[in-house]
């Protein structure tokens, strides 16, 4: 555990001689039942992109919330620029020059960019002046953004730019970024990285939280690695392989997925010309979706969330119905069938939202096992539920999928994200589906849990099931997909063999090929900007 990289932070020789801007010493923060941060110490200097790396629940968020004044530590102290730093609130933190971009944006969709920025300021300047300043900052840092656009019309990447610019207007010394790339397309990531590099060149310190190891290797100068609330190591991530980083993070060897099966069988499920309105208020309409998935293969469907992923899952699970022959199981039209009729035929699904969609949060795992397994696992006879069978199914899932939980009687919301997701996926896989559809199967999970889930999907496919994986995580899709396709604004790109795809091709599929023809329009959110190129 942390064997290779355990060193004293800051004692790593010549690369880190300048005096630290931010110094954290012996920080401790305990919640009931868990110590989120335990004797955490690290230091970070000016002109550095400093990664905080760790699994879910490693204590990264607690740490940066403490730095940002949202939480007060139980013990330990911090220094900023040589002075004692103990922010009682985010207001104090901002005054001291610390700003934070959250993973979830707090923006008003009905207001424009400048108005949103003004709302976050202590003393907003007149609108016209603010708009000019927003334009200046966005040009200086290569963040294309029009201050008069309504936030509701912006993409996720552009919304993040609003948050970043809101921070930059305060001219901070320290900028904290929590999982900034989780909602971005590869092109948007490139723009963001360019901005962060410029900020670094200006001597700012960026605290960068991420799970994505390749990203950290590409961007960060130094990494502090956390595990179970403790610092387990620090290193220069550029000197380490992603695998070494992951090992320090996880503390055990990663299970590398086995090779995928090479020759897929007959078509298990096909969709032809499916068009469906969304049931949700701000949902995305599915437009003329066509696909085929064969036995033994994994069809990976990429794309940024909100482009029809939930709707596609609902159309496949039977939660939303369509014309009978728009979805065929073999030759059988199933478009008008409900979830349980489809389950009976072997079409199973695992939705993205683990709590509240895939499971009922306040019900225990036995009841949640009956939620989707009641018919296929023969838990119901003459209307009465056989709870012994439900318990047996739940316990089987817990055992086979290494769900760490006191017992099957635990309520779903008491499980960590990774454990619950293992339960949700295992619950479907152990019903031996012919077709399994999963949406964001490893979202927010640590590397070990994610690898276990990917492996189980690969195993399922190699046993002859057809698997559709809808995911935002491209690394994941590249790792497990036989064929790849992408959803953009409710349209599905033509599926292609995953082997041999380039990052550019994938980016184009994600952005929707129709964006290409728009070309040089200044408002094109997905337009790639190369290094050093300035956006007009």
């Amino acid at each position: 555990m942390g064997r290779s990289v355990r060193r004293d932070p800051g004692s790593d020789g010549a690369a880190r001689v300048s005096t630290p801007l931010l110094e954290v010493q012996g920080l401790r923060k305990a919640y009931p039942g868990v110590v989120a941060n335990d004797d955490v110490s690290f230091s970070a200097r000016r002109g550095e992109v400093h990664a905080l790396l760790g699994e879910n629940g490693a204590g990264k968020s607690t740490l940066v919330k403490t730095v940002y004044g949202l939480l007060r530590p139980d013990d330990g102290r911090m220094q900023l620029d040589g002075r004692v730093y103990a922010p009682a609130s985010p207001h104090d933190a901002r005054q001291a020059g610390v700003a934070m971009v959250f993973q979830h944006f707090s923006l008003f969709e009905a207001l424009d960019v400048a108005e949103n920025v003004a709302l976050g300021m202590e003393v907003p300047p007149p609108m016209r002046e603010l708009a000019t300043r927003i334009r200046d900052v966005s040009e200086t840092y290569g963040l294309p953004l029009d201050p008069s656009r309504l936030v509701g019309t912006l993409s996720a990447g552009e919304r993040q730019r609003v948050e970043i610019i809101r921070c930059l207007l305060q001219d901070p010394q320290v900028l904290i970024m929590d999982e900034p790339t989780s909602v971005l397309t590869p092109q948007e990531v490139a723009i963001l990285f360019e901005t962060l590099k410029r900020l670094r060149a200006e001597g700012k310190l960026i605290l960068y939280i991420s799970h994505k190891l390749e990203e950290i290797r590409a961007l960060c100068d130094w990494a502090t690695i956390l595990r179970h609330g403790k610092v387990t190591g620090s290193c220069d991530p550029r000197q380490k392989s992603a695998r070494e980083l992951a090992e320090t993070m996880v503390g055990s060897e990663l299970a590398l997925p086995a090779a995928r099966t090479q020759d897929p069988g007959e078509v298990a499920l096909s969709i032809a010309g499916l068009t469906a309105a969304s049931g949700a208020a701000f949902g995305t309409e599915l437009k003329n979706i066509s696909l085929e998935v064969r036995r033994g293969e994994i069809l990976g469907i990429g794309g940024v969330a909100g482009n029809g992923q939930d709707e596609l899952l609902a159309a496949l699970s039977g939660e939303s119905r369509s014309a009978p022959d728009s979805i065929l199981l073999g030759d059988l039209p199933i478009g008008s069938f409900g979830p349980n009729e489809r389950r009976a035929l072997g079409v199973l699904a695992a939705p993205e939202e683990r709590l509240g969609h895939a499971t009922a949060p306040d019900m225990n795992l036995i009841e949640n096992a009956a939620l989707s397994g009641r018919h296929r696992m023969r838990m119901v006879s003459r209307g009465f539920v056989n709870w012994r069978k439900a318990r047996a199914h739940a316990e089987h899932v817990i055992k086979q999928f290494d769900v760490r939980v006191p017992g099957a009687g635990s309520v779903a919301r008491s499980l960590s994200g990774g454990n619950l997701q293992k339960f949700v996926i295992g619950r479907e896989i152990l019903q031996q589906p012919d077709v399994l559809v999963v949406n964001q199967p490893t979202w927010g999970l640590d590397a070990a849990a994610a690898a276990a889930i990917r492996q189980s999907l690969l195993d399922l496919a190699s046993q002859g099931a057809a698997v559709i994986v809808i995911s935002q995580d491209l690394d994941e899709l590249m790792e497990i997909s036989t064929r790849f396709s992408a959803l953009n604004e409710g349209r599905l790109s033509e599926p292609r063999d995953a082997a041999g795809l380039t990052l550019e091709e994938i980016g184009l599929m994600l952005g929707g090929a129709h964006d290409l023809e728009i070309g040089q329009g200044s408002s094109g959110p997905e337009r790639a900007v190369g290094p050093g190129e300035t956006v007009p």
Binding site: P32, E319, P339, H357, A360, P361, E367, S372, G383, V411
Partner: protein, 361 residues
């Protein structure tokens, strides 16, 4: 600073303690209320909670306990199924009235035929059906047009009251009543009467139905797939859809069952304790049953106990009115307090209070 912190799992201890604490808190706050009204609070509380069961005249009150508790439990059991599923039938009072009107109308239509084996069961059916159909109005409006069943079912109570008044003054008015409002008294018509089964006990068919409903709903909720679907839909509507539960069908089922049970309660009341359809037939059982359902934590056995407790406040309240001159409104406020404290204390099941000792820097 005092904060509420969500518990990782609901507390069982608090789930059990909440109703008891709510009753205690109601006694304290109610005692204050009575004290401000110039009454001796201890005496009023004793009159309400003690005398009807163990006091000098308890022999008279004990029979009343079942008479009052029966309809409360029967209605609350139906409501609890809907409440568990997130279907908010607030109009049980209206369904109760409509059940009574339909059941009584069937009975009166046969007057003076003597075939009890035919007439009484038909009245029971008609009573259930009347409540069921009245509850279908908000049900169908909700599933077809997405109207709010809370508002529709509640407003239909006032429509039902108008129909009740019209029936008492018009179609169902007793021909032998010398022009007074009100139907024939069913208690005097043996083929249609819902008599006490054991003299002086207050036990009638409605009370039997209430106990049967308690048992059946307990089996339904713990063993049957419909009960599971109901609990699932209430716990998480999206998960229920994922499980293949049709939301519309569930809304209709829950409203239908609660309407039918409220209708039955109305029928048993009109054919038994009340005796006749009259303008003042309904006394708010349908609304009080909402409190009963929550006080009983939507659990069948809890509802049974809560039904007896509320029956006690009714009886004791009447006694307090009669002997101590406590206003009727004060008794209603007292019952309302019970629901208020229950819901307020219920927060503790899912949250705990944390006091941060350290002051802000």
């Amino acid at each position: 600073m005092i904060r509420l912190e969500r518990r990782p799992a609901p507390s069982r201890a608090w789930a059990w303690a909440t109703p008891l604490l709510a009753v205690l808190a109601t006694m304290v706050a109610g005692g204050l209320l009575f004290a401000f009204l110039g009454k001796d609070p201890l005496l009023v509380i004793r009159t309400i909670f003690w005398d009807p069961v163990l006091g000098e005249f308890a022999f008279y009150y004990r029979g009343q306990l079942l008479v009052k508790a029966g309809p409360l439990i029967l209605i609350a059991i139906g409501l609890s199924l809907g409440f568990r599923a997130g279907v908010w039938n607030i109009g049980a009072e209206g369904q109760y009235i409509m059940g009574a009107i339909c059941g009584a109308a069937v009975g009166l239509a046969f007057y003076p035929m003597e075939a009890r084996w035919l007439i009484f069961p038909m009245m029971v059916l008609a009573g259930g059906l009347g409540g069921f159909l009245w509850a279908m109005i908000p049900g169908i409006l909700r599933t077809r047009f997405n109207t709010n069943e809370i508002l529709v079912s509640l407003l239909l109570v006032y429509v039902a009251e108008q129909i009740l008044a019209w029936m008492a003054l018009g179609p169902l008015r007793s021909p032998d009543g010398a022009g007074f409002p009100g139907s024939r008294n069913l208690r005097h018509y043996d083929a249609a009467a819902n008599h006490e089964l054991i003299a002086g006990s207050g036990m009638h068919w409605g009370v039997v139905a209430a106990f049967v409903a308690v048992i059946l709903s307990h089996v339904l909720l713990t063993r049957h797939i419909l009960g599971f679907n109901i609990r699932l839909a209430g716990a998480s509507p999206r998960a229920a859809r994922f499980a293949g539960v049709s939301p519309g069908w569930l809304v209709l089922t829950c409203l239908g069952v609660s309407g039918a049970l409220a209708g039955l309660a109305g029928l048993f009341e009109v054919a038994g304790p009340a005796g006749q359809i009259n303008i003042d037939f309904n006394v708010g059982y349908g609304f009080t049953a909402i409190i009963v359902a929550f006080l009983g934590r939507l659990h069948p056995v809890g509802i049974m106990l809560a039904g007896f407790l509320m029956a006690l406040t009714y009886i004791g309240g009447e006694a307090a009115q009669a002997t101590l001159g406590v206003p009727a409104a004060a008794i209603q406020a007292f019952q309302g307090m019970l629901l208020f404290f229950l819901l307020a204390l219920d927060v503790m099941t899912n949250y705990r209070v944390r006091v941060d000792v350290r002051a802000r820097a």
